[in-house]
Symmetry: D4
Subunit: 248 residues, 8 copies
């Protein structure tokens, strides 16, 4: 959709030849722009009602800076995940107002803080080592306009800890549970609540954890029917889906 | 919680010593009854607002009949999954009004057909061979009180088919996508819509599909951020979570 | 050690040239007898204070009958595991007083019922489908002279069930926990008690359970430090070690 | 359980309203305290009669120091595993009297040296490269109040070495066997003794050892029935369970 | 084939005793020369009509320099793949006119730029992080005498991007598609066109991508029948086969 | 595209408002028809110039018959793969003129025998047990209009056999090589020729062949650069791509 | 090598133009004959001094009979492995004098019983269930002209059994050790002797034996340096190599 | 065996009460000496007629120096494998006359150069990157008293190279073949010769080579019956067994 097409469409909207819904529908699938190495999709925010997100791993600092600079003109909120410490300096310099979160390696520009979700999204993690993944989820959930709660270091081997937090868990509309090693926490949480639980296996562990495989398989075989799973260490994905579920 | 305890609790409710919310909360976590080989949890329906569900695989026909008979007295709706043809006859004889669905091997007693979900749950499958899994998801979604839509045989190799159904996909509140082989359909669907997509890898395929492993890994690595995943062939789990998401 | 050597040794015991401890030590490592296809170790009972055990899988009915017939002359108690229904008839015909347990496929000749263990060995299983493995463990524990308790169908998704049985669990000297699918129950049980927990992954499940691999990995990564693991479906091994631990 | 609750409970003990056993039982499951990033469970020592243990891998030096400082006030003995050389300096500075063991990366504060176990726990390892894992097991076994023996570098390819140490092995109440590569040593040891053997696969090896997988699978398939298995390189877990078994 | 044999053969050609075709056939299978550590096959260019190619990974800089120096005397075009930055300086110094491509680590000496292919070879990649692999493919395709087109950053989650480029895709004689993570792009492209598609899984991703395994399995199970697959990250192999297909 | 749309389009063609190329392009992506359980894509033949193909595995006989009956009205040539013996009778009864090939389980209706390919497609297999896969490839190649050659039972352990057939291999425009066990034959063939080689790993073998995995990995790592790979046992896929490559 | 070439070669031998050694060398690499589905290599016996061997798995009874009939005219000794019971009747009917060995499924025609090996080949197996694989090895070793010894059911958990047979093991020139489950026996045997040990992992076991994978990995990681490994259940291969080693 | 026992035994030899063979036999299994962290087996040279060998990987420089210093007093020849460059300096300083081989990381003290093997051991490798493994094999074969030949860089994709070296291959008594990637070279060599072939998979490759797994599986499934396999990169093991086979 080149500029000419866009102008025609907008004039049709103005004249009433195309109504708002129709224009929304046509805009939803079309525009993007070529930066040479990456096609930035300017309307993705419109299409999915979400902030712009960049996955920085495997991109050079220059590429991340170039994409981020462009996105901040288009979107109020920008989230960049998996930024290493070296690149973070360069990137934050280009994004005034953006914060760098060292544990998760995320950079967040959070200018529009409207709450859009109807309930609470609660982020739970099993151990101290799972916090980086939980943080990535939490940052995502917040920047997408949700009220959040977080409960950290609540392992399945200590039921009393879970029980102690039962009431907070019961208040959530969606729960994200991050756990490595055996990955049993989502099942335990899932058995206590009746809302959807998004399980995030983490690569925390050693030996037969096989970099998160044990946790991943455990979660896929969960005996709690309200559990779905995302990729190992994918805190962002869990936060993204939780936000979609929490929409009114 | 034995009967005496239950009577005390209910009297407390009657006298106002315990209010309704308090009683609900205490009931939510306690009662079950011992059949010897399986503890049937009578209040699970109350706890999660869901029909009774039995996973028949690995159970003898006698065990399934015994559990099912008991459950139909407690719950209006009963769903039994993974029943082989031999056992199905015995089971349906005990559950008047129950239907057997040959492809998915599910038995469903559907007496309370109230619609509780606010939107539409759409079930999509990639090929004819994926239909059994899709059927299990569909039966679950229906019996849990949702309006449903289904689109079958819509592979990723033919984009025009996906595009042809884009409008129906855009109307869904949640979409379940069942696919075997390479499992790419959830990503393609996820890229078209902005609602949550639950991906169900199926064991359809041969050779390097490794009984659904290829599809499972593909879905976990989906480039569409609105996708979460359940176990291979787990149509029930996908239907269950979709219903939770679709609650008002 | 041929018969002559044995006679010499026993005479040395009678004359006091060798004391009882010394004779025990020498007998512990030596004797067996050749049946052609299998060397039956007559002194294994003496060596380890245990009944004779035969692993029938992969042996022909004739082989099992031949070994079993011989063993019943040597040992009061005999346990044969993994016997299929066809072979069971032939075998039980040769072992008067032996019982066949259909679920686990075990045959047990239990003539010496002395209790030797000092505490209680408790066998727990997660679901109805795990009962065959739990039964194999239970039969082993009993025939090795232990008081036993068993708690079946107590999944991790329902904490209240675990809590309901907490007191029984706290009374055990050793606990065996059999679970398939995600295999999270041993961690949950392990977190409630301070005795050793032996985890038995079962092949119960489908899809990404990969025939018990998911449960096995989960148990190996247990966050409860009192958990050790045996092979998938190895109820016998768990019962055997539990009996050794329970010795005074 | 906040301080007020604890005071009430203790007064009930004083007045006799609650007896000692009852108070023990209630204390066993409840208290912990919030450090923000990790809930330190002060009563775990009481609950399991064990020293405080911290798994340092994946935690920042600051986190480890904070947890360790707090724990030394609560428990006589503290064991911190998997500490890298850089963090060790900071941590030992905060724990006067603590020793750092370079091979295994463990830090141990061992103030209460009461012997509680009734027998000897013997730690065996196959090769020089397995010593770090054996050391972690040994430190755990000692700090938990056991008499210990250790036999290093005793591979399965040299039977005479095993035989040479048979008498020492026969004196143990529990044996821990650490081995990498093919992991056959636990079976060989298990065949010589009648006590429980805890097998620890190590990641020692190359090529088709696949970081300890070969040893792990070998041990799980051990033909010696008295063998159970813990995670790859999990010397601590083996020492912990051995201590539980060795309790009177 | 030693020099004497070669002289004899060429004289036979001169006298007509052997015609050109016959000589070609005999030369096709024989000659190479010994550098001590690597037998450089001087006639490979003749045998397959291709430039000389060196796979530098696992070779020392000295070895690469020695092979490359020799090859530039024999062949107009030389391609060296997987050269790290350190070695690149040494190698380019020896090959005047050669260019180093940092992203893919390739060095190319491109003196004969004749176009030999009859159609266009199009290189497509899914994300910015896949560009290094795509570049290796592109350099190969060019140096082997093909007209090329390239379309980067065209993920399966945005169908409109694919559709936007449909016309360019339809003009290709062969298409190379590089994609990591779920590896679904080759199927999507394959469904739009009727020419052969060569799929290159890349190691781009994290967690359950398992270093490209997820993408590899997905591509092998592609539902588009016009897809074949090469090794993970093997851009060179894809470019090589694409060139063979594109020959008149 | 419903009938009305089709009529409009064809009238536009008639009036010249749309020229033939334009109509071809629009038709290429749109039409299919709903049989309820499978959307038969009538224009696939047009879109890819290929016969109709049905993958029968996982479909019921009734489903296969229904699809096949419909397709024979639309396409001169029909190929149905993976038909078991039981279903074959029913299917061939509905397709007069169709042949059933027992080894590969393929059914072929071959009415249009025009040769469209410019060169020869040669199918090679390593052992007698690989013939079913080779046959599936051969039937595909023939029905898609190619001249074919086949060389069976030509293992890599006997170089002289390969050499004996070198001349026939050199005449091919594309070669398909089917091999199980170690899967080395494609490399050996690839080293002899300069045309593209499509490698088909077969599930032939036992033990560490892991149902074709060993052959698959071997082929993906081939040291011959002219080799690409398809799924295990996917003779059809190899034949399909070979036909595309062989087009003028 | 067609008949004409063969005649020329033999005449050259007769006239002395080619001596016997030269003719042997040329014959070693060339002749075979086409049966249509399998190229029977008549000179393999000559080339390797071995009997004709047929691997029957995956071949139809007709194919096996056809190959076997032909081979018995060419070779004194024929060995057919992996014949199922149904096919065995047909095959033995065609090979007068051939014996069928039910456990291993081998058929052997053993007419030339010359002893060619200089020492003893000893076949050891760990358990009764490993006997079929050991039998295949034993039949191979015998038919290839070796003196043999066999020691069955000698597990690694009972060292005294191994020690009891030490002298017989020390007499061997080569030892074949077949073992399933953990596969530790080859290491134990290898540590006792100084001759080469060929390890054959068997698929005996369950659960984490993964059909022989555990035994295979264990053997590949053997700490005895005199051990090499063949495929799972490959008794024939072990016997074949043992015979080559035992040649004078 | 303590010194007293040794003196008694030697006196028995002197008096003739025990003959030399008997004394050899008794010595073969007993003596070793304790260095604290590693039991150096002084009689291993005697037991297996081999030089002392140390596997340095996973040992500290101090440990390697200590073991090596001791061994050089006992054995004429010492081989230390897998020594990194840092440790090599320290070690060679302690072993005058020892050479360090950088590619393979081996240190060799070769004082007794007697040839003991009866034939030639030939070491073949597929590519330049496989040379380190081949070197380890070569050094082992030499130090164990064999005449050697080596042929490097002889891939399966160029048959003519293999053929060119056929005569040298035919002269070997044993052949060691090192190959990474697809690992097909041992099969090709095995098909040309009738002596035993020891295959060494190397970790050379990328992507789906999975660090040597592809080569390992390929070699285990070799269609050449004269091939056995050792661990990935285990050049030493291959050289060791080859030497045993080559003994008269």
């Amino acid at each position: 959709m080149d500029p000419d097409q866009l102008r025609v469409l907008l004039e049709e909207v103005r004249t009433g030849a195309v109504d708002i819904d129709g224009a929304m529908l046509r805009l939803r699938h079309l525009p993007f722009e070529d930066l040479g190495f990456a096609k930035v999709d300017h309307h993705r925010a419109l299409r999915q009602g979400m902030p712009e997100v960049v996955f920085a791993q495997g991109k050079t600092p220059d590429q991340v800076v170039a994409i981020a600079s462009r996105l901040q003109d288009i979107s109020q909120n920008v989230l960049i995940t998996r930024v290493d410490a070296d690149s973070a300096a360069a990137v934050t310099r280009q994004l005034p107002g953006a914060d760098y979160f060292r544990l998760s390696g995320a950079i967040r520009l959070w200018r529009d803080r409207t709450v859009r979700g109807k309930g609470i999204v609660t982020v739970v993690c099993a151990g101290t080592s799972d916090i980086p993944v939980a943080e990535e989820a939490l940052l995502t959930v917040e920047v997408m306009g949700n009220r959040v709660d977080s409960i950290y270091d609540i392992g399945v081997a200590g039921f009393h800890r879970l029980m102690h937090n039962r009431d907070r868990l019961l208040e959530a509309r969606v729960i994200i549970v991050c756990a490595g090693m055996e990955g049993a926490l989502p099942s335990a949480v899932g058995g206590l609540v009746s809302c959807p639980v998004i399980a995030v296996p983490t690569s925390v562990g050693y030996g037969a954890s096989f970099h998160g495989l044990a946790a991943l398989l455990g979660m896929l075989n969960s005996c709690s029917s309200n559990v779905t799973v995302v990729n190992i260490d994918n805190g962002f994905g869990a936060g993204f889906v939780a936000s979609l579920i929490n929409r009114p």
